[in-house]
């Protein structure tokens, strides 16, 4: 309400009481409800919040690029001394790209696929800098070099499909810079990228910002990115900014209960095995905004006043403001502390547990076919000799960047993809090949939970039918027993039994993921393959799902093969970790061995690229150059050597044999003496116990 009337002249952007609403029928649903922002040149303001909080609507409103249903109801956006909301559209076009530029989340869809990079850049240069011909080309070359694209001259003539994801995002940034903007609006600029590429892009953005003294409005849900990039942070919740603070103060003492909960919900080492704190419920929908404090319904400190009266801004420290009714003293509590780490993941004795799953030298190759006769001209070696063993009640995390083949491993184990070689044994029985009937019965013992809770449930079936499908496919009992089983399994995942007659679209993302888990549990599997089960969810919901998975493991003794790229989740949940690179496991060991003392250069780089959601002591990050090569033509020798700083002559010639560092820790790198012996290399089926 009462934005501090700072009359500094250096402010680049001032937003006062901006209100954005979306029209639905004749009603206007407020998406952004009276926010104030200010941003100086050279400063980075991070807007942090879960999905559906109005972060992107705010950014689009600044540029007046809201979708057709969006309306700016009230407010003022002053940028460079002018009120953008009152400018005619023709002048606004000069502001977009010229004054402020925007980088979007998905690099794959923000470039026009039928125009070359050079053409697309020339368009911006002609519009904002009135450059043409050779001058435009020279400027484009400069810009591409500035965003770190090697061989810029060649890239200018290429089409977007010839560029990798990270490269496309660099081109997007170069195009955003082409109009010499003073403010860069970055809407989740690295969410679609791998961690190593994310680190590169964040470095680049930081460097460019310093060089050009730009202001940056960074929109993100990732506390790690915020910790690395932001100078000030605004936390958004349900269309309002609820807390605003400089970085140091924000990470040291978050004041608003919502912010505190966000920190507490983060998985990580500190809370290994313990229950993560969760925020009950979900962000209120636009059509049903509560009257008082919008967070009251999910806040454990809420009292009567919170439900009736919307809180005003209160200054709690220098530049640190918060909108909350709670008294100062009670606010300081909480902070960054972790939950109890006591009743954790069952620390099952690794040696004693019987082997449930044994994967030996698994290979999945996809043929590349060319020509009229579709002859095979090569193979994409998506998985190239992976050996794993997993015992009952244990969690093995399979980590790696996208394209390294970790999902393919999961699907090959489930026999959703035919393996080209190697063997998978479950409960001592060989999977794949053999009689159909026996194979179908074996499927009962392993199930999969998928990444996208919106694509993994058939929208045309009710929840009960979805869950019953597996029971029926396995020749389950009669109708009554099935209904009892469905109710039981729904209760197990924390959903009411009435959910069975409803349809998936009536549930939120987190609830849908619970349904997917219930579907997997319905056939009482022993092994569950989780393919990034939380990557599509918000932090608070992710915590709920991780807690649920941990509880189920404790109660049912499930074994998880956890496929992920999120190291915080790995740290929280896993017993063992296997790191994959280009279809092979490069390092494998206990979670502490791999995450605390990583030995393979790739693991080290990966770990150092993960942005930490706290004010970390500035250790020198290891930045990987380049991107993951194509599995169709892997580099000779060690697959990692082109990106490895420690690569030597032997790395270029031969793939390193495994080196046993401890009883459980194996790494494949020439830096360590080989300990290969004939016995090593997977568990044979007949040795596995049932």
């Amino acid at each position: 309400m009462n934005a501090p009337a700072k009359s500094c002249g250096d402010e680049l952007l001032t937003v006062r009481q901006l209100r954005v609403a979306f029209a639905q029928g004749r009603a206007l649903l407020p998406a952004v409800d009276g926010i104030d922002l200010r941003l100086a040149a050279g400063e980075t303001l991070a807007l942090l919040g879960e999905s559906g909080c109005g972060k992107s609507a705010t950014a689009l409103a600044l540029l007046r690029l809201l979708p057709a249903a969006g309306r700016i109801v009230a407010g003022e956006v002053r940028f460079g001394g002018r009120d953008l909301l009152r400018l005619p559209e023709s002048e606004m076009r000069a502001v977009r790209g010229g004054g402020m530029a925007m980088i979007f989340q998905e690099p794959a869809t923000s470039l026009n696929p039928v125009l070359t990079v050079g053409r697309q850049m020339a368009e911006v240069l002609a519009r904002h800098r009135s450059l043409g011909g050779t001058a435009a080309q020279a400027t484009a070359l400069d810009l591409l070099s500035a965003v770190g694209i090697a061989d810029a001259r060649r890239r200018l003539g290429e089409y977007p499909f010839q560029l990798s994801g990270g490269m496309k995002q660099r081109v997007m940034i170069a195009m955003a810079l082409a109009g010499d903007p003073r403010l860069l609006v970055a809407d989740e600029p690295t969410t679609a990228l791998d961690v190593t590429i994310q680190a590169q892009i964040l470095d680049l953005l930081r460097r460019l910002q310093v060089e050009r003294a730009m202001g940056m409005l960074l929109i993100t849900h990732d506390l790690g990115v915020v910790a690395q990039m932001a100078t000030r942070i605004g936390v958004m919740y349900a269309g309002e900014i609820v807390e605003e603070a400089p970085r140091a103060s924000f990470f040291a003492t978050p004041r608003h209960p919502y912010t505190q909960k966000l920190f507490a919900a983060l998985p990580g080492l500190a809370r290994r095995g313990g229950q993560l704190q969760t925020i009950p419920g979900q962000v209120p929908s636009l059509s049903a905004m509560p009257a008082g404090c919008r967070f009251a319904a999910r806040c454990e400190h809420a009292w009567d006043r919170c439900r009736q009266q919307s809180p005003q801004w209160r200054q709690v420290a220098l530049d640190h403001r918060v909108r909350c009714h709670l008294e100062d003293g009670r606010l300081v509590a909480g902070g960054n502390a972790g939950g109890p780490a006591a009743d954790g993941v069952p620390v099952a004795a690794a040696a004693a547990a019987p082997t449930l799953l044994a994967v030996d030298d698994l290979r999945v190759h996809f043929a590349i076919r060319r020509g009229v006769l579709q002859r095979t001209v090569g193979h994409v070696r998506a998985v190239d000799g992976v050996s794993l063993a997993l015992a009952r009640g244990r969690t093995l995390a399979l980590v790696g960047e996208s394209g390294c083949g970790k999902t393919t491993v999961g699907k090959a184990i489930l026999q959703l993809l035919p393996a080209s070689g190697g063997s998978v044994c479950l409960l001592g029985e060989q999977l794949g090949g053999g009689r159909q009937r026996a194979q179908r019965a074996l499927r009962r013992h392993m199930q999969m939970i998928f990444q996208d809770p919106f694509a993994s449930l058939n929208p045309r079936l009710s929840v009960g039918e979805i869950i019953a499908e597996g029971i029926r496919a396995q020749g389950g009992g009669g109708r009554a027993t099935n209904e009892a089983a469905i109710a039981a399994v729904l209760q197990q995942v924390g959903l009411p039994a009435e959910a069975a007659i409803r349809y998936p679209h009536e549930f939120s993302g987190g609830q849908r993921q619970r349904i997917a888990i219930a579907r997997a549990l319905a056939v009482q599997p022993e092994l569950v393959i989780c393919d990034e089960p939380t990557s599509a969810l918000d932090v608070s919901v992710q915590a709920q799902i991780l807690n649920l998975l941990a509880t189920l493991q404790r109660e049912l003794g499930l074994a998880y093969l956890f496929i992920t790229h999120n190291f915080a989740v790995v740290d929280h949940l896993a017993h063992e970790v296997a790191v994959m690179y280009l279809g092979r496991i490069v390092e494998h060991g206990g979670v502490d061995e791999v995450l605390r003392s990583p030995q393979h250069p790739y693991t080290r780089a990966l770990l150092s690229a993960v942005p930490s959601p706290r004010l970390a002591a500035a250790s020198e990050p290891i930045r990987l150059p380049g991107e993951i090569p194509s599995p169709a033509a892997p580099p000779t020798g060690c697959h990692f050597h082109p990106r490895c700083r420690q690569a030597g002559e032997s790395c270029r010639q031969a793939y390193p044999p495994p080196s046993q560092l401890s009883a459980t820790h194996v790494v494949r790198c020439h830096l360590y003496p080989s300990t290969v012996d004939a016995d090593r290399g997977g568990v044979a089926c007949d040795r596995a116990e049932t």
Partner: protein, 479 residues
């Protein structure tokens, strides 16, 4: 029995289709997803207005699908008990019975709409004032058009105006009765007052679009009632070359158009759904085979293929006259053959669409989850793929209807459409070809065919739009 029911094959199919539509309506009322989609159609004003119009056409078509042969009166008006009943060779429908005056009161040749005299001059004998017969060239008086006026032809305009006014009054009365019935229904259902009920019905905010239906009904009755009152004594749309009433022909054409539009999709659907889903789901050689099939089929010019098939069919019909008891049965078989041929040649578009959608669906995670359970492929297709394709099928079905009605008109124009004795929009337009070359122009036949076909196709298209908006998951907002 005063008549002998005749069951034509197309009648059977039409009534089966009606039954299927009712059954699927009943089924989708039980499924919340389908119910909400149809409710979205119900909220669309354009959709409900066009549905009302379509319903009017459908009633005409259905009335025209109950056929019988009337019993001929025995010689001398006496009937002996032992004599077997003799039935007319002419097959009539319920619509024919209702329109008997239109059907039987034929003129000699062309006459303009609402005319009392023929369109062309003839040499006629007139008794002059002096009592002698004179031969003059003039427009002869029509046998039926305006016959009730007698010699007082000048009274025609006043008569027409009077009838129109009377009809408008009647139409308003009828419409008011419908409005009262609807409001009364609301009053009983909601228990609110009449005033509130009227506001509810007329505003129709976010609910069933009663206002669109009522407006359409008003327009429809304001147009149809004068036509109905005038049709008794005039030829409202004139007469054609052989003196047949054009209004009658136009009404008879509706059934032909409906049969072509509906029965063809019946032939087309199983082919395209089955082949499309098989190709998309199984990939590999099945996909290759089906793709080759439809690529080959769709690269043969459609008209050529249809012409060849229709001509072969015609030869078959001509060489086996003993198959058919009446001319109507022969024409009906040819109509069905045309539907079949159109269906067999036009399944490729939908098939291609469904194959692409299945390719997308089979990669979705819920299909993989089902595979991980060991569910058989047929079950996956039946439970997971088909229900998620149904919106495309429904949209394609409604959209194809209008294009097929138009296709019939074109094919009949080229001469490879329905049997020449069967009245259809196509044959009417084909006849109009020569009429347009006459001087003075004979325009009413073409205009009437155009008007009716246009409103039928427009209503079908608007309805298709509403259905697409309601069923397309991307437009409907919820999956």
């Amino acid at each position: 029995m005063p008549f002998l029911p005749v069951i034509l094959w197309s009648d059977v199919l039409i009534w089966l289709l009606l039954l299927a539509a009712l059954a699927s309506g009943w089924l989708s009322a039980g499924n919340p997803l389908w119910r909400s989609a149809w409710q979205r159609v119900g909220r669309s004003r354009a959709g409900m207005a066009s549905a009302t119009l379509l319903l009017a056409f459908a009633i005409v078509g259905l009335l025209d699908s109950l056929h019988y042969r009337p019993r001929l009166a025995a010689d001398g008006g006496q009937r002996t008990a032992g004599q077997p009943a003799v039935y007319a060779v002419e097959v009539l429908s319920l619509l024919d019975a209702l329109l008997t005056p239109l059907r039987t009161r034929n003129e000699k040749t062309y006459s303009e709409p609402l005319a009392t005299r023929a369109h062309a001059k003839e040499t006629i004998e007139v008794r002059g004032s002096d009592g002698r017969l004179q031969q003059v060239r003039d427009h002869p008086r029509l046998r039926h058009g305006g016959a009730h006026l007698g010699a007082d032809e000048g009274r025609r305009d006043a008569d027409v105006a009077g009838r129109v006014l009377q009809a408008l009054g009647l139409a308003l009365l009828a419409w008011a009765a419908v409005v009262l019935a609807v409001c009364g229904g609301v009053v009983r259902a909601r228990g609110c007052g009449w005033r509130l009920a009227w506001r509810r019905v007329w505003r129709s905010e976010g609910e069933f679009a009663w206002n669109a239906i009522l407006a359409t009904l008003a327009a429809l009755s304001l147009l149809a009632m004068p036509v109905a009152l005038l049709a008794g004594d005039y030829h409202v749309f004139g007469t054609d070359k052989v003196g047949q009433d054009v209004l009658y022909q136009v009404l008879k054409s509706v059934r032909t158009a409906l049969v072509i539009g509906l029965v063809t999709t019946l032939v087309m659907l199983p082919l395209s759904v089955l082949l499309g889903v098989l190709a998309g789901y199984f990939r590999g050689w099945v996909d290759d085979l089906i793709q080759y099939l439809y690529t080959t089929l769709s690269s043969i010019p459609g008209v050529l293929l249809i012409a060849a098939a229709v001509l072969m069919m015609q030869v078959l019909i001509d060489t086996h006259p003993q198959w058919f008891a009446t001319a109507a049965e022969r024409a009906d078989l040819r109509l069905l053959a045309l539907c079949f041929i159109l269906g067999v040649t036009s399944w490729t578009g939908l098939c291609r669409l469904l194959r692409g959608e299945t390719l997308k669906l089979r990669e979705l995670e819920y299909i993989q989850a089902a595979q991980a359970f060991g569910v058989s492929s047929l079950r996956i297709i039946g439970r997971h793929i088909l229900p998620n394709l149904m919106h495309i099928v429904i949209i394609a079905l409604v959209m194809d209807f209008s294009s097929l009605v138009l296709a019939e008109a074109v094919l009949s124009y080229v001469g490879i459409g329905v049997d020449p004795t069967m009245i259809s929009f196509g044959t009417m337009i084909n006849n109009a070809r020569l009429e347009l070359a006459r001087e003075p122009l004979v325009w009413w036949s073409l205009a009437a065919a155009f008007l009716f076909m246009f409103s039928l196709v427009l209503a079908a298209n608007l309805f298709a739009d509403a259905v697409r908006d309601a069923f397309d998951p991307r437009l409907a907002g919820s999956p």
